[in-house]
């Protein structure tokens, strides 16, 4: 019985976990509920991924209603890797949270914090699992509202301002999305992705569709922090509690990218052009700007959390660039980088979180020589940094390899050169961190740093190890990414699975 209900269980498990954590009103109990719920979610996501790989897309009708009337959950090769990634990062972030919340969150709010983490997971997983445009909006709001709360719970008073800033921008993004969905519904009469695709060719006047695409793409671009709509991200990541930053950086923007890919390839078609400019070209220009401008901004940051946040904006540029290249290698690279970047950025934010908790600062100039007193955390940060550059032997190399391959296959050698050139900027900002933490005489804070508890280091090290493993043996992620790419490009050619 369970196997048939997996598509909805993957959303229900974290939802129930969140409700029980809130009802428990007990910090320790809330943690164990969160842990059990997130592990069960991961098991469900893994089982789903297995089913999809073996037997193709799975459809689930909520309440038994026909997709034309009700809501259909649809898990295919594109959404299965995203579910797996979000569920896995959820487990890592919750294990990490156990110790970090004791320092960063007011005790009365800890149970609520776990509730919000689980509800956020439920929202993100729902966005990936649902095949209904409006249902996705509901889940987008669920995940966004819990995200604002997570950020606002940060210890720094500026966290409130960051959360408010994100609230305004995020609400505009969600509103744009729902306006676009409304226009889509107006022209097709359905909210189900499959039916929308079926009915699109019958539409004679494309005007409403162009407006719908504009609204939806801009709305999602706000959520995924596509340059120049990224202004909310650095503050949100910098002032949120460490475990929340690790969770958000590795899941929230990734699910938004998935949604963008779903709309661009499966619904609107990436090559559609508005006037003389095609959507793919616009996306490519913005991606390139993100890769260079955000990397440049990262070089001049003093707070390591902010530096990594700007680097996230740049790395999202690589992912959207892969989508804009729109051939199999490019899209494979994009999906690979969704997974690889989640792992490396998760490891980086967890490592700097551990340093922040032990040494009391995440400022670059106060952390000189921290590598000598906290070698494990600094080591994980180094591995993640090298992966951000794309050094061979790390997962970042593999995803950039596919992006470069995609650019060359598309006959755009200059694009391949730009991808490599932008990595030089990553060398600069990662190099700054490495120089300070390893090669300088230990500063006062570094010498006073306390030992890091194992529950903080364990998830950090697991993510760092995966970053290296997927760099040496990329078979598993490449298989997931390339089947996602094949499914997306297959759909856009009109060959529905």
């Amino acid at each position: 019985m369970i196997a048939a209900h997996l598509p909805v269980l993957v959303v229900l498990l974290p939802l129930f976990g969140g409700l029980l954590a809130a009802l428990s009103r007990h910090n320790e109990a809330a943690f164990w509920i969160a842990l059990v719920a997130s592990i069960a979610t991961l098991a469900a996501a893994a089982a789903l991924a297995g089913q999809v790989m073996a037997g193709g897309p799975i459809s689930y009708r909520i309440g038994g209603w026909d997709p034309a009337l009700g809501i259909e959950y649809r898990i295919d090769a594109v959404s299965a890797p995203i579910l797996l990634l979000v569920a896995a990062m959820g487990v890592a972030a919750i294990v990490y949270a156990r110790r970090s919340v004791t320092v960063e969150i007011i005790p009365e709010r800890v149970a609520w914090y776990y509730t919000m983490m689980l509800i956020c997971l439920a929202g993100l997983l729902g966005m990936a699992a649902s095949g209904d445009a409006f249902n996705i909006f509901v889940f987008l709001e669920i995940s966004s509202l819990s995200t604002y709360t997570l950020i606002a719970l940060g210890r720094d008073r500026r966290a409130l301002l960051a959360a408010y800033q994100y609230l305004i921008v995020g609400t505009i993004g969600a509103t744009f999305y729902v306006i676009g969905v409304g226009l889509l519904y107006l022209s097709t009469g359905t909210l189900n992705f499959g039916l929308i695709v079926e009915r699109l060719p019958e539409i004679t006047s494309p005007r409403a569709l162009i407006a719908a695409e504009a609204f939806i793409v801009v709305g999602i671009a706000l959520k995924l922090a596509l340059f120049p709509l990224h202004a909310w991200l650095p503050n949100a990541y910098a002032y949120a509690p460490s475990s929340a930053t690790a969770l958000l950086a590795s899941t929230a923007t990734k699910v938004a990218v998935y949604l963008l890919a779903r709309y661009l390839f499966a619904v609107f078609g990436i090559q559609r052009s508005v006037g003389p400019i095609s959507v793919a070209d616009a996306l490519m220009a913005l991606s390139l700007l993100a890769m260079f401008a955000a990397s440049l901004a990262a070089i001049f940051q003093n707070d390591i959390k902010r530096l990594l946040a700007f680097s996230s904006v740049a790395q999202i540029g690589y992912i959207t660039l892969g989508l804009a290249i729109a051939n199999e290698a490019g899209v494979t690279g994009a999906f690979l980088h969704i997974m690889n970047h989640a792992l490396m950025k998760g490891a980086a934010f967890m490592a700097i979180g551990a340093i922040l908790i032990s040494a009391g600062s995440s400022k670059l100039d106060e952390l000189a020589g921290i590598g000598r007193t906290m070698p494990v955390a600094a080591g994980a940060l180094t591995v993640a940094g090298l992966a951000l550059i794309g050094v061979p032997g790390t997962s970042g190399f593999v995803s950039k390899w596919y992006l470069v391959l995609g650019a060359i296959e598309a006959g755009r050698l200059w694009l391949a050169i730009l991808i490599v050139a932008s990595s030089v900027l990553a060398v600069l900002y990662v190099g700054r961190i490495l120089e300070v933490i390893w090669f300088r005489e230990p500063a006062k804070r570094s010498l006073e740093a306390q030992a890091v508890p194992l529950s903080l280091l364990a998830p950090t090290l697991v993510l760092a190890a995966l970053t290296i493993w997927f760099g040496l043996d990329a078979g598993f992620p490449v298989e997931l990414a390339s089947s996602a790419a094949k499914a997306l490009l297959g759909v856009s050619k009109g060959a529905l699975p």
């Binding site: 019985m1 409700l19 029980l20 009802l23 689930y60 909520i62």
Partner: protein, 139 residues
Amino acid sequence: MRLDVVLRVTTKFILAPLLLFALYVQFHGDYGPGGGFQAGVIAAAAIILYGLINGLAAARRIVPDAVLERLIPAGVLIYALVGVAGMFTGENFLGYNHLAHDAVHGQEWGVFLVEAGVFVTVFSSMVGIFYAFAGRRRA
């Protein structure tokens, strides 16, 4: 406000009909306009009115914060559990057809219970928002 006899007496008269009206909107939601959300707001309005007239402390004696914070997730839990109950009767999530002896009554029961969950969460959220704003000290 304590000296304002008109307000206090009028409030006493209004409170009971207000709660009754909330129940009417809740249970009549199948046939007329209304349902869990509207009923929850009306019931919360009764508590908020009581709080406005008699002070926040008096309202908190009727609906304490601890109860409120349990009610908010409890309502969602009722909703979700009704959905899961459908799964145990061999339907998909939120399928109500097998909750009673035939599909029509099953749907009726399902929607009725789900609306009860909506009522609980909307009521407690509204009162919670009122407490949060009213309890804020002036900086």
